[in-house]
């Protein structure tokens, strides 16, 4: 989630390989967008890791490790 409409469907559609428009948007999100401030969320635990100045902070606290 980029916090703005990324024009991407929530799931890849079948035959997405042939969908030029989709691929272009996907490429943009994956390779041309740099998150400067935001967070990464662990899909399992839900734990959020903050991103600051483009660098994600993935340090765990003592009790988490």
């Amino acid at each position: 989630k980029l916090g703005r409409p990324s024009e991407l469907p929530p799931e890849p559609l079948p035959n997405y390989e042939g969908d030029e428009e989709f691929l272009r948007r996907l490429h943009h999100v994956l390779l041309e967008v740099e998150v400067l401030e935001g967070s990464l969320q662990c899909p399992d635990s839900g734990r959020r890791f903050p991103i600051s100045r483009g660098v994600p902070n993935l340090l765990l606290s003592e009790d988490e490790a």
Partner: protein, 506 residues
């Protein structure tokens, strides 16, 4: 006098092909084998000769290509390389010998100057070429020196450390080059002044104002009779007399480098004002760039590889690697905000943002998948940088994570201090002698080289042999070479390992 020879060139570009020339490049102690390999691989050099602190070679490339050398310190055009000067008790006689070695015929030096000018891509016929050349060099040094005082300090340290590490002996530069610090500071100041002389009559000034400086280093038997300063001064006076040049200690057009020791007598002209180790793409230097490059060269980075530095600091290793092997993906991790900020700045300055990814993470708990990387390369900070006194305890944790994220067949290249290395060895002895697979011949590329040492003590080359704590505890990391290198004031050791199989399997 016969007209100067014209080199055969296809156009103004001073790139791929040029007349073959003889060069030598100084190198930090321990990096000579890397440099020797590099000049062959990168420049197609022949007649490569390695001695302590220098690599001599012949190559047919222009300055643009020569500038790309990554493991050398300063590059020189070789003028003379002779056997050591005979040492007699008579100072006068020795000075005479030195002068005939260096100066020879006056015409010799005129030829050298025109050859040198051509090497720098000038037309060579106009009178104000030397002025142009001096300005070009100044402009160049301005361009490459856009960074802050820190870079300047780095340069100064670089020169000082380079000169310290080559020989044990006199290393003072004569005449009257007071200290490296001052010299380079002044050089920078003068390069910032607007170029004078373009409006005035350059021709008349030019012939009188070609300036030079002699840098002399001598050690061994010769140093017992004469000092570097005396020799430098004598040569300088002679050149002024014979060639009519002007001695300029601060910002000469030409620097003449004379190195006399028990092995040989060498005379050369430096090709570039700044050491090769100064990278225009690095804003804040951490580890010495030549050592960082050498480490990366051991990692066998191929196209599509994933490379990690889990204690990246300012990112020097990743920068050197990404510049040289751009078809790979680089990840850096560090726990320090200020270091990461510096690394980020370096990456942006170098334009490598899409090649190098940074994480704030701990090497003891890397948020990275197991066996995900082809190479792990790291300078393990030692001594005062570690806050705790438990370096030894931390080491196994660090190594465990590094080993985990490395794929089978991947390479691990570490820079360890003498103390850390001793600890590794100490742990080894306690661990007993579990044999590990001794695959001494894992890599296809560079062969592990004997580390050179000035005193003649060879540093140990641990190959296979399975006595490393790593093979004992982690079961899968096999040593493939150890290289002693000088970091200026201290020595360090590059250790290379290969992961041969995951522990507990196979």
């Amino acid at each position: 006098a016969p007209p100067p020879r014209r080199p055969r060139r296809t156009g103004p570009a001073k790139m791929s092909s040029a007349e073959p020339g003889r060069f030598f490049c100084t190198a930090g102690r321990g990096l000579e084998p890397f440099l020797a390999r590099e000049v062959q691989a990168r420049l197609g050099a022949t007649e490569v000769d390695c001695v302590s602190g220098k690599v001599f070679f012949r190559a047919a490339v222009g300055p643009g290509e020569l500038r790309k050398l990554r493991s050398g310190e300063r590059l020189f055009l070789l003028l003379k390389k002779h056997s050591p000067l005979p040492v007699s008790g008579s100072r006068g006689k020795m000075l005479h010998e030195i002068k005939s070695l260096v100066i020879g015929e006056p015409k010799y030096w005129l030829d050298i100057i025109s050859a040198w000018r051509k090497l720098h891509g000038h037309k060579g016929e106009t009178d104000d070429v030397s002025q142009e050349n001096a300005l070009a060099l100044k402009r160049k040094s301005e361009e490459t020196n856009t960074a802050s005082k820190r870079q300047k300090t780095e340069q100064v340290r670089a020169i000082a450390s380079e000169e310290c590490q080559v020989e044990a002996g006199e290393t003072c530069v004569a005449p009257g080059r007071k200290s490296s610090q001052e010299c380079w500071t002044e050089s920078k100041t003068s390069s910032e002044l607007p170029s004078k002389g373009s409006g005035e009559n350059p021709t008349a000034n030019e012939k009188l104002s070609f300036s030079f400086r002699v840098s002399c280093r001598c050690s061994g038997a010769i140093a017992k009779i004469l000092t570097s300063q005396e020799i430098g001064r004598a040569i300088g006076i002679m050149l002024v007399k014979q060639c009519g040049w002007r001695a300029d200690l601060r910002d000469p057009d030409l620097e003449i480098f004379v190195h006399l020791n028990d092995i040989q007598s060498v005379v050369g002209i430096p090709l570039f004002r700044l050491p090769l180790a100064n990278r225009e793409y690095i804003k804040r230097a951490g580890l010495r760039s030549t050592v960082a490059w050498a480490m990366a060269s051991l990692a066998e980075i191929s196209a599509g590889a994933l490379v990690l530095d889990p204690m990246c600091g300012l990112g020097t290793i990743l920068l050197e690697a990404a510049k040289e092997w751009p078809e790979a993906y680089y990840w850096g991790a560090d726990i320090s905000d200020s270091q990461l900020e510096g690394a980020d700045g370096n990456i942006r300055t170098a334009g490598l943002m899409d090649k190098i990814e940074l994480l704030k993470a701990s090497v003891k708990a890397l948020p990275l998948p197991s066996e995900g990387f082809d190479s792990v390369i790291s300078d393990i900070p030692f001594g005062k940088k570690f806050k705790t006194t438990n370096d030894a305890q931390l080491l196994p944790d660090i190594l465990q994570e590094m080993e985990r994220v490395l794929r089978v067949g991947g390479t691990l290249v570490l820079l360890l201090s003498q103390e850390l290395r001793r600890r590794v060895d100490g742990l080894t002895k306690c661990a007993g002698s579990d044999s590990a697979e001794a695959s001494a011949d894992g890599d296809s590329g560079a062969a592990p080289a004997q580390a050179l040492s000035v005193d003649g003590n060879s540093s140990s080359l641990t190959q296979g042999g399975g006595e490393s704590v790593l093979s004992r505890h982690f079961g899968s990391l096999v040593p493939e070479g150890v290289y002693a290198v000088s970091l200026g004031k201290t020595d360090a050791f590059i250790h290379k390992y290969r992961k041969v199989s995951a522990p507990g399997t196979g």
